[in-house]
Symmetry: D2
């Protein structure tokens, strides 16, 4: 992932308006909150495009690793455009790559990755990615 990437480098987008309390004492969105945008775009994709039922499905996705590089401040009341693609689609895990853009611009505010492992809800044992989710994830894969 490079700092020079633009919206054209991503496959799926979600608009995420900032909230008042996202700003911290220094007047910009706190670094922690970026990860909330990141796991929102990933989970929204699984739900709306992969049919994941977070209330009842026996297989769920849990985070095992995440990283974010911060390039430019985001400030409430900005609206964020979160771009998503799949960088690696494994047997039991997926690596998402995410670019956060100010909705009005095409320069990265932040770039991130996030790894989900699919597990049984009750035991947390890893399992192969269910077919409906794998099909959805393949559609936004660049690998």
């Amino acid at each position: 992932m490079s700092k020079q990437e633009t919206k054209a480098d991503f496959k799926h987008f979600l608009t995420i308006p900032t909230r008042w309390m996202d700003n911290d004492i220094y007047g910009h969105v706190n670094n922690v909150i970026y990860y909330s945008y990141i796991d929102t775009v990933a989970n929204e994709y699984l739900i709306h495009h992969g049919g994941l039922d977070i209330h009842h499905d026996s297989v769920i996705a849990v985070a095992v690793e995440s990283q974010c590089k911060y390039f430019r401040p985001i400030v409430f009341p900005d609206s964020i455009e979160a771009g998503l693609r799949v960088g690696h689609l494994g047997n039991t895990s997926v690596r998402y790559e995410i670019g956060l853009f100010n909705a009005c611009e095409d320069t990265l505010c932040a770039s991130a990755y996030f790894v989900h492992v699919f597990v049984r809800r009750e035991s947390y044992k890893p399992v192969p990615i269910p077919g409906k989710l794998r099909r959805a994830l393949s559609k936004i894969s660049i690998a």
Copy 2:
């Protein structure tokens, strides 16, 4: 405020998509998060419609009281329509009344009020509401 109110009872609206981490262990948006929607719609109005500059203005708005009644669960990835009106516009304070609706429906998920007092940023001494803000607040007043 009544549980029977509809979108027609509010003067200004803001769409607030839920985020993954808004859901708590019981599978619905946590009660605390509703207040984040509430202070977001109020501050967004002050900024976009009243010209409040949260970084530089010498007068800022601070919360002195808030309340929320919860009628129906909200669940990620729902999108919320937050309705806002001014119930009381005093010399140094304003009482907002807020209705939270599922974007697709016209039945209240929650109703709330929220009181801002306007103060000097440095001293926290209450001051009369600045003219630009008073004019904006008057436009959505029902008093």
Copy 3:
């Protein structure tokens, strides 16, 4: 509840350190975050003193109403002492009264109430408060 209440007016206490991101752009803990302290002290009491199993119990507690009055700012890295008592113990609901104090002082930063209704986890139908929880709540009741 009165602004003059002190720690002696509460029955159970929990120390809640503030976090960096609790502070908002105006340099104090955001009003929304107070409710996080409030539902933490209430649920912690149900779990540690009432034996509530939030993962498996068939009866859970959901918020139906809450209110907070803000008297004095809280600032990270302050630590908060949250005082809890039961103001009303009904058949299916409980009203908590909460005082938030700076850990080093005996003057209220904020006072709040919070109403839990006990419901079946699956149907959200109200049910009588289970015995183990009622006994725990009785111990901190002032009614």
Copy 4:
């Protein structure tokens, strides 16, 4: 950083109790919240041990990069012991390494790093780390 590290591998500790809303729909602390623990222990160290005045100092610390690897779930009402050390102390930046432990155990729940760049509050231009902060950071450096 290795998954096998223990509390003995860190130089400074902060106890961070979980909060009710830290848990997400899957019953464990949400991945985003870990970063809140991470930036809390780093900033607490700068304030309490380095004398950083977050309200008035002309030089502040902003995040440029962070990463977390999740090994074992954390669940409210657990209390976390956050271990901190400095992995690299540069001219204008510092790399913190953080281990999150369940307060009762000596096995990592998560390991993370977090990079702060020191900048002028008004211009966000990087500046050399102020002496009082550099001295404090040196004390917990392993480089």
